[in-house]
Symmetry: C2
Subunit: 149 residues, 2 copies
């Protein structure tokens, strides 16, 4: 599958979050053969868990599935630029590639903010692809926060 | 209790991690009245979970206990300087104060590295107290890694 096809799956997860009244961010993790290892969406509200971002939940699920704490040669596809918590988790999980939809200048830590992967305390740097279905990934967030105002 | 007494409890958690062959880091979360809300130690190996740092587990437990996703007016006491994942989680959980034992120049993100709380994308900055039982907190890590070599 292409990056766009995987991002559509991540967007489907974001839509599930939207319908559950959670900030609509979704993520999928794919192995080297293109097989989906995990899908997840943001669950901070219903999970009563500030760490329950889509990326963290997807990493945990994929590790449980593979019965290992490293996700070598895997790709994480996420609708919104990861925050510093998630960027660090991605690096620690040894995920090879990150595909990002929308930028997040307020909370992001890959292209924005502390740019964790470029920092001296990042000891494993994944490849990064950005701007995949950027408009669609940003629009669902705009729609969500418009309803909240 | 004083910071030292809470740090001794965090060190007890680190000792549990040591005995379980996990990197010996422990954390406790205390509420405004001084009541212990949660205790946790690093479980990345046995949990097959790269996100299972002591701080993340302690935050999740405390949130479940209080049935809320914010830990306003709480203090997190941790034997090792938090990494960028944990520092971000601490900020997002709105923890008021962080008490740190040993510094971590390699992976830390409070005093070292990206210094997340000082960054423009940190929107809630906790008070930080450092160097509490620093020798003891550093020694258990040294002992652990000496055995691994």
């Amino acid at each position: 599958m292409t990056s766009e096809k995987y991002m559509l799956l991540a967007l489907k997860e974001a839509q599930k979050a939207f319908l559950a009244d959670e900030v609509p961010v979704g993520a999928v993790i794919v192995d080297q053969a293109g097989k989906i290892l995990s899908k997840a969406h943001n669950k901070t509200e219903h999970g009563l868990d500030p760490t329950a971002h889509a990326e963290i939940l997807a990493i945990r699920k994929a590790c449980q599935k593979l019965k290992q704490k490293r996700l070598w040669d895997c790709t994480l596809v996420v609708t919104l630029e990861p925050c510093a918590m998630c960027a660090t988790a991605i690096s620690m999980a040894r995920i090879s590639k990150v595909i990002i939809g929308a930028k997040d200048e307020k909370n992001g830590a890959v292209l924005s903010g502390v740019k964790f992967f470029e920092s001296a305390t990042c000891h494993f740097k994944p490849e990064v692809e950005t701007g995949i279905l950027e408009q669609e990934c940003a629009q669902i967030l705009k729609d969500f926060f418009k309803l909240k105002r």
